[in-house]
């Protein structure tokens, strides 16, 4: 049981990372990651909307008729986006300025609608909240990592520190071309990481089930070098 909840949360971080594995929400990812702080702000705002909308949609999933579910979801998401926008405008005007149009555009962020459609509309409230948290964490981590790399290489700073910059800036990294380059590199790394995790999981499962019943198990060292074809 606990395993199910842990999986609902953890899958969003690497295995189904919304940015690098599902390649959703690419537009804000490329646009706001010129600095790590912008990435953090965007990630936090989107995560808030994601968790709240997942909870409400999950609560209402039996009341919303299937045919009009998309407009209903969008209205809920738009409501929370407006709340976030007003809060950020009031308390964090600097973040509001640097995120600009991308803050209200959280409404059309495909991660949020995607999770509503794929998860919250079908699962219980607790699971949906955890799914939103995990996906939000994955989104925020992706934006902060990407913003950090681009800010450090393109501006020499990290979260705006230090004043003069640590290394001579390579400006192309804060330009759109550098954004696409860093994005591609990170997708590659996450894919490698994710396939490795999956591979290890299948290996473990294999040793526990198939090999346990196999008389040759002591000789083949857990199916190494293709010895076992199960």
């Amino acid at each position: 049981m606990a395993n199910k909840y842990w999986q609902a949360f953890s899958k969003g971080i690497i295995k189904e990372n919304p940015v690098f594995r599902l390649v959703l929400g690419t537009c804000p990812t490329l646009a706001v990651t010129t600095a790590a702080l912008n990435g953090l702000g965007m990630g936090a705002a989107a995560s808030f909307v994601l968790v709240c909308s997942n909870i409400v949609i999950s609560l209402l999933r039996k009341l919303i008729p299937g045919k009009v579910r998309l407009p209903a979801y969008i209205v809920i998401i738009a409501g929370f986006t407006t709340i976030v926008q007003m809060l950020v405008k009031a308390y964090l005007p600097a973040i509001d300025k640097s995120l600009g149009i991308y803050l209200p555009l959280i409404v059309v962020n495909c991660i949020i609608l995607g999770r509503a459609e794929a998860f919250a509309g079908k699962n219980s409230v607790g699971l949906s909240a955890l799914d939103g948290l995990g996906m939000g964490a994955g989104f925020t981590a992706a934006l902060v990592i990407m913003g950090g790399i681009r800010e450090f290489l393109g501006n020499g700073t990290l979260f705006g520190w230090p004043e003069g910059g640590l290394i001579p800036p390579i400006t192309i990294f804060v330009l759109p071309a550098g954004g696409f380059f860093v994005f591609g590199m990170l997708i590659w790394i996450t894919n490698r990481l994710s396939t490795k995790l999956e591979h290890n999981a299948t290996r473990k499962e294999l040793t526990e089930t198939v090999c346990a019943a196999c008389p040759m198990a002591s000789n083949c060292h857990g199916g190494e070098e293709g010895a076992c074809h199960e």
Binding site: I170, I172, L175, A177
Partner: protein, 316 residues
């Protein structure tokens, strides 16, 4: 690999050329410009060229090794890339930036897409464009030629295209442009040396004269029509080196004749548009990169018609 490329029926005759021979010819063709760059800008020019070539060789060797692919460092193509990149840099460029340009050209633009023949844009131009985007100050620090022979240290001077942009055109003497007595990148200034290399390549059948002549011709005609000085325009900036050595890269220009014509006219038109109406004084590198990207589309539109089939059969 070579066997899979044969499409026509036998008998076949090998022309005796391979990549290594072609690249050696290109390097020979670049030697006059190399000598000219050292004559015009001093031994620091040689240092920049050595650093670029060394970085290109090292990145080619290491990236093939890391990717566990057959070693291709012996086909000399990375030396050409390094040399062309160095020719596109100003003499004052910091050496680490020059090396970085080479690494970007070989690793990002060439090897990540599969190596020689798989790159969709000219690697040396990608290196230059990335450096221009990254270090605009260092990449626009021009020095008057032959300053190193005098007592004074490097004197900064405007390039002819920058002078054209500020209406100082009357001071430009076309003859001094021909011999490279102007500010600019290492290898682009001496038009005479570049033309010499181009003629050698055409005689050796390494390049067809189609792309360079049409490219330069388009620039000449368009600048003349638009009321600029055509002679100064074709002799200044990176047009000569771009048209002869960069636009003719086998992997990134169309194969058949009409494709080449469309490509070269496009390069010329974009160069003139950027030079006369854009915010940058020079547009050769961007023009060639844009046309490189358009090359697959041009090839689709200019696909030759099989003998005996109607036009409609090809379109469908």
């Amino acid at each position: 690999m070579e066997n899979t490329l044969m499409v026509s029926s036998s008998p076949h005759l090998h022309c005796g050329m391979n990549t290594r021979d072609i690249m050696r010819d290109v390097i020979i063709a670049l030697i006059p410009s190399l000598i000219a760059s050292v004559w015009l800008f001093g031994f620091r020019a040689l240092a920049v060229e050595v650093v670029c070539v060394a970085a290109a060789l090292a990145s080619e060797y290491l990236s093939r090794k890391v990717m566990k692919r057959p070693q291709t460092v012996g086909d000399l193509s990375c030396i050409v890339t390094g040399l062309l990149l160095a020719f596109n840099l100003p003499v004052t460029v910091p050496l680490w930036q020059a090396a970085l340009g080479s690494v970007v050209a070989i690793v990002v633009a060439k090897q990540m897409f599969g190596g020689l023949g798989q790159n969709f844009v000219n690697p040396a131009l990608v290196g230059r464009v990335v450096l221009m985007g990254s270090f605009p100050d260092a990449m626009n620090n021009w020095v008057t030629p032959l300053a190193w022979t005098g007592q004074a240290d490097a004197v900064s001077g405007a390039t002819p295209l920058a002078m054209l942009a500020t209406d100082a055109a009357a001071e430009i003497d076309p003859l001094s442009l021909l011999f490279g007595l102007r500010g600019g990148c290492l290898g682009e200034t001496c038009a005479a040396a570049l033309l010499l290399g181009g003629v050698y390549l055409v005689i050796r059948h390494v390049i067809s004269p189609l792309i360079p002549t049409i490219y330069i011709g388009t620039v000449f005609v368009l600048t003349w029509i638009l009321g600029a000085n055509p002679v100064v325009h074709i002799l200044s900036g990176g047009l000569m080196i771009g048209a002869i050595f960069m636009a003719t890269d086998y992997a990134t220009c169309p194969i058949n004749k009409w494709g080449k014509v469309v490509y070269a006219v496009g390069c010329g038109a974009l160069t003139v548009l950027i030079r006369l109406y854009g915010s940058l004084p020079e547009g050769v590198s961007f023009a060639i990169v844009i046309m490189n990207i358009l090359t697959p589309l041009i090839e689709r539109l200019t696909r030759p018609r099989p003998f005996g089939e109607g036009r409609k059969a090809v379109r469908s």
